[in-house]
Amino acid sequence: MSTLLDVDDLRVTFPTRTGLIEAVRGVSFTLGRERLGIVGESGSGKSQTGRAIMGLTPPQARISANKLAFDGIDLLAASPRERRKLRGKRIAMILQDPKYSLDPVMSIGRQIVETLRTHEKVGKAEARDRAMAMLEAVQIRDPARVFDLHPHEVSGGMGQRAMIAMMLIAGPEMMIADEPTSALDVTVQLDVLGILDRLVSERGMGLIFISHDLRLVSSFCDRVIVMYAGKVVEQLKASELGRAQHPYTRGLLNCMPKIGADRHPLPVLDRKPEWAA
């Protein structure tokens, strides 16, 4: 399997009034054309890992790594211009809430066309046709109508599909999805995941799926990385989640209420300081 992304000892540090905060502390992994899940609770550094790869870390933060390479391109040495060319074209990112991450004053169709025409030389009519086709590919039933709607006129599930369409239109090789379904209803969640799954496997993309929901990730991804306090505590195959070794992973799996399991009180996570060491 060819390696798409190679991350070795990635660190993201934020300067604050009380000193330096290390949000990501030495994360290493590789990604091929597969679905990789990154799971952790708030503050575990999972989103900052995704953002560092995408190049969306705030300017005051410092990033260091032994290696951060996408398809042989050293991302840390790349100029802003080169990174801009990668972003959207070869690496795409889906964000959590379509309500906040779509442009509210631009119609959905225009936003998709904008992405396409930024990265490829295509005429207006062709761009429109391709945007329509993409909207159809994410199972929007009436693409011609949705094309002219603004983000506030569509539901959350529809908005998230539009965002997926926008991200896929330039044909990226790698996609980072940061909690793509957390803002959606459970039933809509599965539709969106189904679309994402189909498109990723059809196009042979690499996918990084960032989420706090261990069970959802394990049912969707091939491999799972569990993060705690900025570090990777465990890496395992999704199918072998039941055999997780680290007490944090086991505790996280255990503390969720399950239908049919009569456990009162629920087991709680007993955090050990050595996990963060």
């Binding site: 209803d185 039933t187 049912s219 969707f220 009162h264 009180p265 087991p267 709680v268």
Partner: protein, 249 residues
């Protein structure tokens, strides 16, 4: 036995939008009752209508046998308290925990505020060290504990819970759910709890109602749900969805 909460053919209309279309509900004293549904199904509106926070167009709500009018009196709020979804939005940002907890006591004219605040904080597992902190100095789970303390401080008999853990991490969620169960047992409270998560509702509640677009779809016992004895397709879909993603090859 009179029901703790009896809702009869309740209609809530916002401008021209019918958010609730004739929903009826009975919750017995000491019972824990769950409302499940997707966003827009009206489950939160039902809760807010009981608390007096939504425009009721017709139908009636009775609490402990007393039918409620358009305006709630003080006695009502001593019986019924609410915990909201977002612990970041439901605490005053410029008041300390102490000040937050004093507010309901002052409104209802309690004299032994000092003792009650200490007891309420102990009860939710926060202790006195948190008393003079501001909400921005607390984590999400701690804030939700403060919100629960504020609801409990008047010693109500009914607690309305609107997605009390959906903004929290899984491990913190377990702690807050355990706390809620514990206070319910100790004080023999009646819970009416809203959640979109079937697993949480079956864990916390004995009976539940499934809602969809402002109507009640199905009334179930939690045990029926566990055995998957459901009659409506909508409920079955919700159950399937809560199992996680299944790849269709």
């Amino acid at each position: 036995m009179t029901a703790a909460i009896a809702v009869d053919r309740l209609e809530v209309i916002f401008d021209r939008f019918r958010a609730l279309k004739g929903v009826s509900l009975d919750v017995q004293p000491g019972e824990s009752f769950g409302l499940v549904g997707e966003s827009g199904s009206g489950k939160s509106t039902l809760l807010r209508a009981i608390a007096g926070l939504a425009p009721v167009a017709s139908g009636s709500i009775a609490v402990n046998g007393k039918t409620l009018g358009a305006r709630r009196d003080k006695a009502f709020y001593r019986e019924v308290q609410m915990v909201f979804q977002d612990p970041y939005g439901s605490l005053h940002p410029r008041q300390t925990v102490d000040r937050l907890l004093q507010e309901p006591l002052a409104i209802h004219g309690f004299a032994d505020g000092e003792k009650r605040i200490q007891r309420a904080l102990d009860e939710v597992g926060l202790g006195n060290g948190f008393r003079f902190r501001y909400s921005h100095q607390l984590s999400g789970g701690q804030r939700q504990r403060v919100a629960i303390a504020r609801a409990l401080i008047l010693e109500p008999s009914i607690l309305l819970l609107d997605e009390p853990t959906s903004a929290l991490d899984a491990s913190v969620q377990a702690e807050v759910l355990n706390l809620l169960e514990e206070v319910r047992k100790r004080r023999k409270l009646t819970f009416l709890m809203v959640s979109h998560d079937l697993a949480i509702i079956t864990h916390m509640c004995e009976r539940l109602m499934v809602m969809q677009s402002g109507e009640a779809v199905e009334n179930l016992a939690a045990a029926d749900l566990v055995e998957r004895r459901v009659t409506k397709d909508y409920t079955r879909n919700l159950l399937l969805a809560s199992d996680g993603f299944v790849r269709t090859a």
